[in-house]
């Protein structure tokens, strides 16, 4: 990162920190989603962008994280600040189990991806019949007064949630930047580029792939906990849905796989594309069902065709943000 990039990053930080002062609630909710996608994108990017392991089942960690902290709060009034650690432990255990199963049995590439989908689908069906957390009827957390901030139970106005997810996104960015420059980053990228060569250089690829999966799973679990307390209601059909998994990967894929800014730029573009499509349809007065999705799809398609390495690498080149 050079001076110019640092300056832009500082500008972005100042804008984001001061945003609640002048944004209305609707805009703040959009910004919250932008940061949440930036965060989950960063988490997913560690597994795919860095280590080259494609997961299309990250909804698993989002859902298990959300349900762990949500159900413990619902039943026992356990603070999410404790619940989040249990959610992390649960997701690390799940990720380690799935990773060990896959990597011990040499399941790789597209078959590994199918396994990640299968795990998320198992969880969706399982939670549908899990009466303790409400099954398919859903789990509802008590909603408190919005203007009062209760930090202990993570209840409060939209600005509070916004700042929580802002801190999460910033931490995820910093953690990714650090990991990429340290031993794990070098080893993950080596495995991504050529696993056989990586192993010949002394890298225990089994161990390091598992480490990528559990790091990614633990980070995604935290996003799940956030979602549970932000939405206050959880349905297996929604949170474990493959749409969730796909949503999570769009940011880093559009933004630029394996890059630090990719998930951030991609998440911003996704929100702009969705909102842009809505605004456009409203302005034109079209009342055709599915037209929004169509416009959204065209934008995605254009990005993938014209910028196959993602938006960020070409922006970085144009603005001379790299060395």
């Amino acid at each position: 990162m050079n001076r110019r990039a640092s300056f832009l990053l500082a500008l972005l930080a100042v804008t984001l920190i001061s945003l609640p002062a002048f944004a209305n609630n609707y805009f703040l909710s959009l910004a919250t989603f932008f940061l949440l996608f930036a965060y989950t994108g960063q988490a997913w990017n560690i597994m795919m962008g860095f280590a080259g392991q494609l997961s299309l089942g990250h909804a698993l960690y989002l859902g298990v994280g959300a349900y762990t902290a949500g159900a413990l709060y619902f039943h026992y009034g356990l603070s999410p600040w404790i619940g989040v650690w249990l959610a992390i432990v649960a997701c690390i255990a799940l990720g380690a189990f799935m990773g060990a199963l896959a990597f011990r049995c040499d399941i790789s590439g597209v078959y590994f991806t199918l396994l990640t989908i299968a795990f998320a689908e198992f969880a969706r069906i399982g939670f549908d019949h899990f009466a303790w957390v409400g099954g398919s009827a859903g789990l509802f957390l008590k909603v408190a007064q919005q203007n009062h901030i209760d930090w202990l139970n993570l209840r409060g106005p939209p600005a509070m949630y916004y700042y929580v997810v802002l801190i999460l996104a910033a931490l995820a960015f910093a953690a990714s930047a650090w990991l990429l420059r340290q031993r794990p980053g070098f080893y993950w990228q080596a495995i991504r580029e050529n696993e056989e060569a990586a192993r010949s250089l002394g890298i225990d690829s089994f161990r390091w792939k598992i480490f990528a999966v559990i790091t990614s799973a633990a980070m995604t679990a935290v996003a799940g906990v956030f979602l549970a307390f932000y939405y206050n209601n959880l349905f297996p059909e929604q949170i474990f849905s493959i749409n969730r998994s796909v949503e999570m990967i769009l940011g880093p894929v559009i933004g630029g796989l394996g890059t630090l800014f990719g998930p951030l730029v991609g998440a911003a573009l996704m929100i702009v594309a969705t909102e842009g499509a809505t605004e456009l349809v409203d302005a034109l007065g079209w009342n055709i069902p599915g037209v929004k999705q169509l416009i959204y799809g065209v934008i995605l398609f254009a990005v993938i065709v014209y910028l196959p390495h993602g938006v960020w690498p070409s922006i970085a080149r144009k603005l001379k943000l790299e060395r």
């Binding site: 031993r183 080893y187 990228q189 080596a190 192993r199 010949s200 690829s205």
Partner: protein, 253 residues
Amino acid sequence: MAVDRAEVKVGAMNLLEVNNLGKSFHGLHAVNGVSFSVAADSIVGLIGPNGAGKTTLFNLIAGALAPDSGSIAFAGTRVDGLRPDQMCVRGIGRTFQIVKPFAGLSVLDNVVVGALQRAPNVITARLCAEGILAKLGLESKRHLPAAALTLPDRKRLEVARALATKPKLLLLDEVMAGLRPTECDDFAATLRDLNRRDGVTILLIEHVMRTVMALADHVIVLHHGEIIGHGTPAEIVRQPNVVASYLGASDQS
């Protein structure tokens, strides 16, 4: 036809001892009852026609394949059946005949990955990698992506990356292929230097006979998965069965 199944002794202290090693693929004996040893601080050449089993033998020694029979001892301990990363930790470095660069990473970062094997952190690893790149004449290309290198440079990168793991034994699989004769001589001088000055023992597969003859203290000839001859380069060229099966047919020097 195993002319020689007895141990091929090379010098006093053996770094590598391969005993009666066997590996077959679907009934085809790629490596069959191969025994030889490599003395510490020596350079041993492994030659033979295409399909003789040279690369399979390398893959067995480097842990990429597990042998069906026989044993491999490295620095006095059995290592057969270990994983490739464990072999590297023990001190066996290798290159791949079909080069496998980390294409998306810079030349320097490719070597840093190897150097991290012994270095405590990235900063020390980078220093070590810079030194190795200079030794192999790649320092001016260190910030290029590995994908941008020509094939001879990629072969050099393979060697640089393997060297960065500070191996006691370096397995080189046709690193001279595609080089011009003068480049071959330069590369051979670099390898000899590594051997003499840094004490790296080298086992190399090579088709460029002038390099093998100039470089190797000892040569092993493999044919149909079996050792059909061994000796100093001068002895090898006089063995009738070696000349008939390999040298006479496809002498490239």
